[in-house]
């Protein structure tokens, strides 16, 4: 049977993490499951977790009056969902909805922030990984703004 540690170690976002750091994460982790159509969080709610998607697909949405929900990004297997747990004021900026059955690892934000404060090496490692994700998404957003298909 797979342990939580081995599941974490195999996830793309956490690959290569040192074992002591993995164990810190295990202490804050739990397995979660969302049915298709289920909202994982809503804009404005307290952001106290991040999710490492193991299977499925999650739409990040913004509600626009007269247009309804607009999907701005799709997060899939191997991706992470949510960094607002890390950055004050710890509120979700978007809605997240499971598009299909989604299995993920949920990491408790309060637990993680405490561990990061206590163990700066762990905190720095986690921050580097999140910075990469944030950078990739910022670059992708800039390309979206460029409207690259409009030749």
């Amino acid at each position: 049977m797979q342990t939580l540690e081995s599941v974490l170690a195999e996830h793309r976002f956490l690959k290569g993490l040192a074992r002591p750091h993995l164990l810190e994460l295990v202490d804050c982790a739990s397995n979660v499951r969302f049915e298709a159509g289920q909202y994982i969080f809503h804009q404005g709610e307290e952001a106290n977790a991040f999710y490492a998607i193991r299977q499925g697909k999650v739409a990040l949405e913004v509600f626009v009056p007269e247009r309804g929900a607009v999907v701005i990004e799709m997060v899939t297997e191997g991706d992470v969902l949510g960094w607002s747990w890390l950055i004050p004021p710890h509120r979700w900026r978007f809605d997240a909805r499971a598009v299909e059955l989604t299995r993920a690892l949920a990491f408790d934000g309060t637990c993680l922030r405490t561990r990061c404060e206590e163990d700066p090496d762990f905190g720095y490692e986690l921050l580097k990984r999140f910075s990469r994700v944030i950078t990739e998404r910022l670059e992708a957003t800039r390309l979206q703004l460029l409207d690259v298909y409009h030749g």
């Binding site: 697909k57 739409a59 990040l60 949405e61 247009r67 309804g68 929900a69 607009v70 999907v71 701005i72 990004e73 799709m74 899939t76 191997g78 909805r97 598009v99 299909e100 990739e136 992708a140 390309l143 979206q144 460029l146 409207d147 690259v148 298909y149 409009h150 030749g151």
Partner: protein, 287 residues
């Protein structure tokens, strides 16, 4: 060759500057601004043989002439197929043509996708917007010679779901087990279940072996620049990456110089180029 034979040969060679009359057999709407025209010759025959990636000059009498890639199946010669986005002086009236209307066609011109050279390798096709049209003949070819290739991957990006071309065929290709199809859009409404994000975000996770992959890329130039970058980050060599360029093509045979790009003419030396040959010029603003 004897002198009289040369003279005879010169007489019989078709003049590339003379358009041949074709009539419209069918016009079908792909999106709100993009249409596919099926053309036939007066005797009901389709077009001349072409290689995937080549283009024709389409002449709308009294309006003007535009270069349009051939988007049909190279194995089927019963119709000449072009997909046209209605954005310009010629293309806007072009898509209002009806069955039986006549227009002029010169071609086919230019270089082609390296479908023969890619045999034995994985092939990744990256298309942006209407860039799928010039790549569709290559896809037809790859799928009709499927055993000759490794993995075949199609990554296709468009602005919105309403901008996606050939949606029925995309569904068919998705249903096959021998091609991986990933489609992404920049923005979508809540009922969209596909990917959201630019096409470059699909490249890191697509299943192909970068060291043995031939990449074929077509779309607006800015999209191709970032795609080439993402392919290189994944490990696909520039000499195995091919892009289709577009410039203001007029004569289509390298005489007029309108489509000069660095040391090349897009119409004659392209439109399909090996990326390492064009890369030094891709990032030059002055060109």
């Amino acid at each position: 060759m004897a002198k009289h034979e040369q003279k005879h040969a010169m007489k019989t060679l078709p003049d590339p500057m003379v358009p041949h009359p074709y009539s419209v057999r069918r016009v079908s709407r792909d999106t709100y601004d993009t249409f596919t025209l099926e053309l036939e010759q007066a005797n009901g025959a389709g077009g001349p043989p072409f290689a995937p990636g080549q283009f024709n000059m389409i002449y709308l009498f009294g309006v003007g002439e535009v270069p349009i890639s051939i988007s049909g199946n190279p194995a089927r010669s019963n119709a000449l197929v072009h997909t046209v986005r209605a954005v310009g002086t010629v293309t806007k009236p072009l898509v209002t043509l009806k069955r039986g209307d006549v227009l002029g066609v010169r071609g086919p011109f230019g270089s082609s996708w390296p479908v023969e050279e890619a045999k034995g390798s994985d092939v990744v096709i990256v298309a942006g917007g209407i860039g799928l049209a010039p790549l569709r003949p290559a896809l037809y070819y790859l799928l009709s010679h499927r055993d000759a290739y490794g993995r075949v991957v199609l990554l296709y990006g468009a602005r919105t779901p309403a901008d996606l071309l050939y949606t029925r065929e995309l569904e068919d290709w998705r249903g096959r087990f021998d091609i991986e199809v990933e489609v992404t859009v920049d923005a979508a409404s809540g009922d969209w279940r596909g990917n959201v994000g630019v096409v470059t975000t699909l490249i890191p996770w697509a299943r192909f072996e970068p060291s043995d992959t031939v990449a074929m890329v077509c779309g607006p130039e800015v999209m191709m620049r970032f795609t080439v970058q993402a392919l290189q980050e994944r490990g696909v060599a520039a000499e195995n990456t091919f892009i289709s360029m577009e410039r203001n093509m007029k004569c289509a045979v390298g005489f007029c110089g309108h489509c000069q790009f660095g040391p090349t003419f897009i119409c004659k030396d392209g439109p399909v180029f090996r990326c390492d040959r064009m890369e030094p010029f891709l990032w030059k603003r002055e060109i």
